[in-house]
């Protein structure tokens, strides 16, 4: 009796898993099949022509790269710093659980709300205008919860024995963290963070209001310039463009490039993790 139930559950779970893989597989297959035809050197290296109906998406790639770099530069130190405070220094009391609740809630806030927040605070109040700076800050706010949670988890995963041993040898708390906690947890922090940032790279709503332009004739020069960005470019091509039906290959091509970019980030995260895993194992 029990055995049949077990078999049934196993079958059920297996079907669900296959279904998920199938769906994702189909989406990927569709994008790759249709996007591949648009891919060529000119597509990734030249500016768009005829409102994106022809030409390439070079400035959008560059723009998204800038935003990713900006987001990493802002969110990584902030998120890791916050996680160190929460995991190592903060009293594990009520205040701490309140902060934690806030972070979890923040993670669930819709991205358009972050976009509006960025518009209100960074673009208007701080006076940065629509710019790489405002966009990066907005995206950083959005990924902060992911980074904090991932970093805190990898800090807490460091065995208590290392902490005790460090302190007992006369290390101060910060010496202990610097020499015997961060080196072992940094890979987990960076991996978790990059996965979060990879997701942010594909977000449209936050950059829509804070940085993205549909067409710019020149590449940005400073952080106060606007940029084009892949998700926004894709959004316009697919839904707002007068020739939307006739430029499917451009849309698929853009989607594919965006996908490859995020994939590249994830791959980087995996390589970093592998590197550190080899260095510190216990």
């Amino acid at each position: 009796m029990n055995n049949t139930a077990d078999k049934f559950i196993l079958l059920f779970l297996r079907i669900i898993t296959y279904a998920i893989v199938l769906i994702i597989g189909y989406i990927l297959f569709d994008i790759i099949k249709n996007g591949f035809t648009a891919l060529n050197w000119q597509f990734v290296s030249s500016f768009p022509r005829r409102s994106g109906a022809a030409g390439g998406i070079f400035p959008a790639i560059i723009g998204t790269l800038y935003l990713v770099v900006g987001t990493i530069a802002v969110s990584l130190p902030l998120g890791i710093g916050g996680a160190i405070y929460l995991a190592e220094y903060a009293d594990q009391g009520r205040f701490n659980s309140l902060i934690r609740l806030a972070i979890v809630t923040l993670a669930g806030v819709p991205s358009i709300v972050f976009g509006l927040f960025g518009l209100g605070v960074f673009v208007l109040f701080c006076g940065f205008g629509p710019s790489i700076l405002a966009g990066s800050l907005t995206l950083a706010c959005m990924v902060l919860p992911t980074i904090i949670v991932a970093s805190e988890e990898s800090l807490r995963a460091v065995p208590k024995g290392f902490r005790d041993a460090s302190l007992a040898l006369g290390a101060t708390k910060w010496e202990m963290i610097r020499t015997n906690i961060l080196p072992y947890s940094i890979s987990g922090m960076i991996t978790g963070s990059i996965l979060g940032i990879g997701r942010a790279a594909g977000e449209t709503a936050p950059i829509l209001l804070t940085v993205a332009a549909f067409y710019l004739p020149k590449l940005p020069k400073t952080v106060f310039d606007q940029v084009m960005a892949l998700p926004y470019h894709l959004y316009i091509l697919a839904t707002q463009h007068p020739e939307a039906d006739r430029i499917r290959h451009m849309q698929y091509g853009t989607a594919l490039i965006l996908l490859l970019l995020v994939l590249g980030l994830s791959l980087g995260a995996i390589l970093i993790r592998k590197h550190f895993r080899k260095k510190f194992r216990w």
Binding site: D91, Q92, P159, G161, F162, R163, D164, A165, S166, L167, A168, L169, G170, A171, T172, E175, T179, N180, Y184, F280, R281, W282
Partner: protein, 261 residues
């Protein structure tokens, strides 16, 4: 209360504790512990699980400071200095009072870096000097011959017993006078345990050792003095030979004869 009379007249006391109470939040774990620990002797703390022996041990280098909502009352003096007095430098204290833990906990670094860790954080940068300290400490911990050819291999590759001796070497490298050992052999096989016990016998000529153990045979083998803890109280402390042959307290006798615990 422990009388001075159990010790020879001219024996120097390194650690004196007087009426130490310890609280984990609202729970009191230690009650009025007054104990003297003589220099260059091995003092064993025995008692059933949860009797407070480890808690007491961790008071001696203030490792309990890291536990939130914990509180110490009473006085613990090491070399006549109250270590809980305001303004005490915990880093200096822990340089003086080394600790070895129940579960061997080498860092996932090379053997060399493990031993050099303490001296390095205390400012020693000279590689030659560090090498000397590392060799000396590993020799003192009776593991030099086993690791001298692979000092730069990861310490995690050592066996459990070797790891524990490495941890002892790491503690010695800081140059402590006192060594606290919290059940240092309880996770080891009999052969490794024997090596640790032999090592304790060698170290006692230069160090004051306080060892927590739940293994009474071990206490009998390695220690000069034994203190018996029960439910947070110090029941009895005396010369080890006396405790195991002719204890004064009924509870001690019951425990060492295996009637409980």
């Amino acid at each position: 209360m422990v009388e001075q009379s159990i010790y020879p007249k001219n024996m120097e006391m390194v650690i004196t504790t007087s009426q130490v109470n310890f609280f984990y939040g609202p729970t009191q774990a230690l009650f009025d512990i007054s104990l003297l620990i003589p220099a260059q002797q091995v003092t064993a703390l025995i008692g059933p699980s949860g009797c407070g022996k480890s808690t007491f041990l961790r008071c001696l280098n203030r490792m309990n400071d890291t536990i939130p909502h914990s509180r110490v009352e009473g006085e613990i003096s090491i070399n006549r200095k109250n270590i809980y007095a305001p303004g005490t430098d915990v880093v200096e204290l822990r340089k003086e009072v080394g600790m070895v833990f129940q579960k061997s906990n080498p860092f996932p670094k090379s053997i060399f870096d493990n031993v050099a860790y303490g001296p390095r954080i205390h400012g020693e940068k000279d590689h030659k000097r560090l090498s000397e300290i590392v060799e000396q400490s590993l020799q003192q911990a009776a593991i030099w011959d086993e690791v001298k050819d692979r000092l730069h291999a990861n310490a995690m590759g050592l066996s459990g017993g070797q790891q524990q001796r490495l941890c002892i070497a790491r503690a010695l490298a800081v140059g402590p006078k006192i060594l606290l050992m919290d059940e240092p052999a309880s996770a080891l096989d009999p052969k490794s345990t024997m090596r640790i016990e032999d090592l304790i016998g060698e170290l006692r000529t230069n160090y004051t050792i306080v060892i927590v153990t739940h293994n009474m045979q071990q206490a009998a083998r390695v220690s000069d003095y034994t203190a018996f803890f029960y439910e947070g109280h110090l029941i009895e402390c005396d010369a080890t030979s006396k405790i195991f042959t002719n204890p004064r307290q009924k509870q001690t006798e019951d425990y060492i004869t295996g009637r409980f615990g």
